[in-house]
């Protein structure tokens, strides 16, 4: 437990200053990945459309002027709307976009767990219904199949 806590603290100690540095002194490359070209629906990094070139130039100017990442993103949203953000902001209705996939994953995990538990619980019942397990612990054969095996063995011996 203590080791786990230490690991979490260590990760935070490394990630937090990096995130702060990225917020205070963003690079063009990271903003290109976080913003979308309005005419082509790909990130700026993947676009050479005229408006993407113009946006890059504007971002460069803003970085040189010392604007933070949030300020630059806010300026882009003011011009082109929230659709310019590659990931929706974590606020209001947009939370759905973040929570639905997580909810879906959690739901699927719960469903798989419940199904697996029910299946495991139902196994001994079927074993007892079919009779005692064999000598090697494996479930007994179906009586019809067992009879057929006996007949085949008897024919083989004859």
């Amino acid at each position: 437990m203590t080791r786990r806590l230490a690991l979490v603290v260590a990760v935070l100690a490394v990630a937090a200053p990096a995130a702060l540095a990225s917020e205070q002194s963003p690079t063009l490359a990271e903003l290109e990945r976080e913003l979308v070209c309005p005419t082509c629906d790909t990130t700026l990094a993947m676009s050479n459309a005229p408006i993407a070139e113009r946006m890059r130039a504007d971002i460069r100017e803003r970085i040189e002027a010392g604007q933070t990442k949030s300020e630059i993103k806010a300026a882009m949203v003011e011009q082109f709307g929230e659709a310019v953000l590659a990931a929706p902001p974590r606020s209001g209705f947009n939370w759905l976009a973040w929570l639905l996939p997580l909810g879906g994953l959690a739901g699927a995990a719960v469903a798989v767990t419940l199904f697996a538990r029910r299946w495991l619980r139902s196994r001994p019942a079927s074993v007892s219904a079919g009779g005692a397990p064999g000598a090697n612990g494996a479930p007994p054969l179906d009586p019809a199949l067992e009879r057929r095996v006996d007949e085949e063995l008897a024919r083989f011996d004859a």
Binding site: P38, T39, P50, I51, R54, D58, E78, Q79, F80, G81, E82, A83, V84, G107, L114
Partner: protein
Amino acid sequence: MTRRTTLVLQAVAVALVASLVGLLAWQVLNKEAAAGLVSAVQRGETPAAPPLDLPELEGDERISLASYRGQAVVLNFWASWCEPCKEEAPMLEAAWKRHRERGLVVLGVNAQDFEDDARDFADRYGLTYPLVHDGPGSSLGRFGLTGFPETWWIDREGRLVAYAQGEFTQEQLDANIEKALRPS
């Protein structure tokens, strides 16, 4: 888990999937309806123009397409970074000056563009016809647009009568203006 809980969970899952499918269908139908406008006009039909209400490029007022009912409208979608738009701008300005006494309005919709760039463009080409700004380009889909420039001609009753994808010619501009101004 009780039978009732299972049923509730199943109902929630079905409702969620149904709403997502509904959202997808709504988007697809909207896109098809807009694309349908273009093909309808190409077949010679005159469907009603979709609504448009946007802020002025310069000024605090909003301009609505409905407010031009009774006048013919040349609705031109443009951006300052669009090369053919530079050819069209002087033609539109001349057409607006030549025909406005007859009841023609040229309405320029600047979209997916920086406002300052758009204002510089308007100043450079001396545009005096009404201009509105649609930064996110939210109006483009409604009109079935696929790029810049694109132009719709609308008659006095608010019906779409002609469409040009890409740069129009002077002849096309004049002929479609006459079509839009023609009394119905």
